[in-house]
Amino acid sequence: MEDGEIIALYWARSESAIAETAGKYGAYCRSIAYHILCDAEDTEECVNDTYLHAWNAMPPQRPSRLSAFLGKITRNLSLDKYGYKMAAKRGGGQMPLVLDELLECIPVQGSVEQELEDRELVELLNHFLATLLPRNRNVFLRRYWYLNSVREIAADYGLGESNVKMILLRTREKLRRYLEKEGISL
């Protein structure tokens, strides 16, 4: 079923919207959640919550890219769950590694500080991503949006793991310089 038809089902308040979504994007959402949580039960819970959030969001929303729309919901729910679960200790999965790596992107602390608005940061990130070559951008997002392992990314893109690591390293360094230039620090 086309995305437009699935969205129309949500708008018509038809419960088959959930089944169609699960059929088409269940695996996609499950993959996102599992890469963050590394736990089948938690993953399933987040994916089901994704459908509930989608049900509540449509209408009024009419996403232009249903996959990314659902993926964002799953990712946010999974990050929330991860936060709750790992408040006391860090678990497995890609999260600890990814957070450590992202730390490299953040320039050292400056003298005069203020909180950065999330929206402002997203705009900067969009601008930064737009300056990347498509493959490098995709590799970067596969790591830091989808939290895929380096091995998975390497396999999917037909690259060596060291090559992927190098792309990520250079892109993180580039992002750090970009943020620094925009006056952003840790």
């Binding site: 990314a68 953040i106 203020q114 950065l116 969009n126 737009a130 070559l133 949006w145």
Partner: protein, 373 residues
């Protein structure tokens, strides 16, 4: 200085543009490896011409450089890049030529195609800002090194010249749609708001540089000005031309030469009938690129201002009989490299680029249009 935490960065990444997320989604890529075996031949070929400092009148030096000097140093980047073949993006870079051809099928449709493809595009659409930035750049006549590169455009290879005086950092604000990947950390972009190939912006690592179309590389085949119109400027109909400005040649800027220039004056043609006439003439005009062109090498036409003086520049004939043309298109782009030479009955461009000799009828048409008699 504002500060963020890594968790905030991770969360913010989650909210980036959905087109990026969709393009990177697992399953959008399959791992078929394709070696770009043709890349070496088509990849950027930097030609650095080191010449004498170009001073007040770089034109004659340019022409002399091209015709008489062989100091060009070519370095072909031999790269055999492995690149994943993307399934979803319309412009999957499985093959350099395919990718370029896809982008340049029709410059006119570029905006529409960009919407369909998932190759991300920077939102900036400030073509006026780009034009203003270009107008305000540093003077070129202080530059003594001209740098060329070759870019595949459709089935052809085009030669581009680096535009000097444009700051890399400043250029970053005028990056438009992605055009082509050259290597792992090098790619080409349209300027913001532009969808033709007159100017392209090259990103190499952190450095941005601006390049302007110069000519198609001629090997076994030539090309026409009609090809240039379509493939570089997206010009497919006469009514896409807003105006043609014809100015006398400034090659002779002595007091005598300036007097003739004033006498001739600059004329702007914007009547559709005139534009159609001009457009019809240039369509099939064959250009030899940088190849030696003998058929228009000798002066063939005489006029009321003709003299016996063999030096047509100092005699003033090369001012009376030459028009520097600026063709303004409806999207604001200008074609400003063509010069009509009524003495030899051909077009020429700086750098020794010339067209075939026009037919007598074509010369008569252009002479009537530009008031050369």
């Amino acid at each position: 200085m504002k500060h963020i935490k890594e968790e905030q960065l991770l969360r913010a990444l989650g909210e980036v543009d959905e087109k990026y997320i969709a393009a990177a989604a697992p399953g959008m890529i399959h791992s078929a490896k394709k070696r770009w075996t043709r890349l070496a031949a088509m990849a950027a070929c930097l030609c650095v011409i080191v010449g004498a400092a170009m001073v007040a009148d770089p034109i004659s030096l340019w022409r002399s450089d091209q015709k008489n000097e062989t100091v060009a140093k070519q370095a072909v980047l031999e790269s055999e890049q492995e690149s994943p073949e993307e399934v979803q993006p319309q412009y999957a870079t499985s093959d350099w030529e395919d990718a370029v051809e896809e982008r340049t099928k029709s410059s006119k449709n570029a905006a529409t195609e960009d919407k369909k493809c998932t190759v991300p595009q920077i939102e900036a659409d400030d073509s006026a800002g780009f034009d203003a930035m270009l107008a305000n750049r540093g003077q070129e006549n202080t530059v003594d090194v001209a740098i060329y590169t070759q870019i595949p455009i459709g089935a052809r290879t085009a030669q581009y010249e680096q535009v000097h005086g444009v700051d890399s950092e400043e250029l970053r604000d005028y990056i438009g749609a992605f055009y082509l990947e050259e290597s792992e950390d090098t790619g080409w972009y349209y300027p913001a708001g532009k969808h033709n190939c007159k100017y392209l912006i090259r990103m190499e690592g952190e450095k941005w540089s601006l390049w302007v179309f110069r000519n198609f590389v001629v090997t076994d085949t030539t090309y026409t000005y009609g090809d240039v119109c379509r493939e570089i400027y997206g010009l497919e109909r006469a009514d896409q031309i807003v105006s043609i400005t014809a100015a006398p040649s400034t090659a002779n800027n002595t007091e005598f030469g300036q007097k003739i220039q004033t006498e001739i004056g600059t004329t702007v043609y914007d009547e559709l009938a005139d534009l159609e006439q001009f457009y019809a003439v240039i369509q099939d005009v064959c250009c030899y690129g940088e190849q030696e062109n003998n058929d228009s090498a000798e002066q063939r036409y005489t006029y009321s201002f003709s003299t016996e003086d063999p030096d047509k520049l100092s005699s003033g004939e090369a001012i009376y009989g030459v028009r520097d043309l600026t063709i303004l298109l409806e999207d604001g782009t200008t074609i400003d490299s063509w010069n009509y030479d009524a003495l030899r009955g051909c077009f020429y461009e700086f750098g020794g680029i010339e067209t075939e000799a026009l037919s007598e009828q074509q010369v008569q048409t252009l002479n009537a249009l530009f008031g050369i008699s």
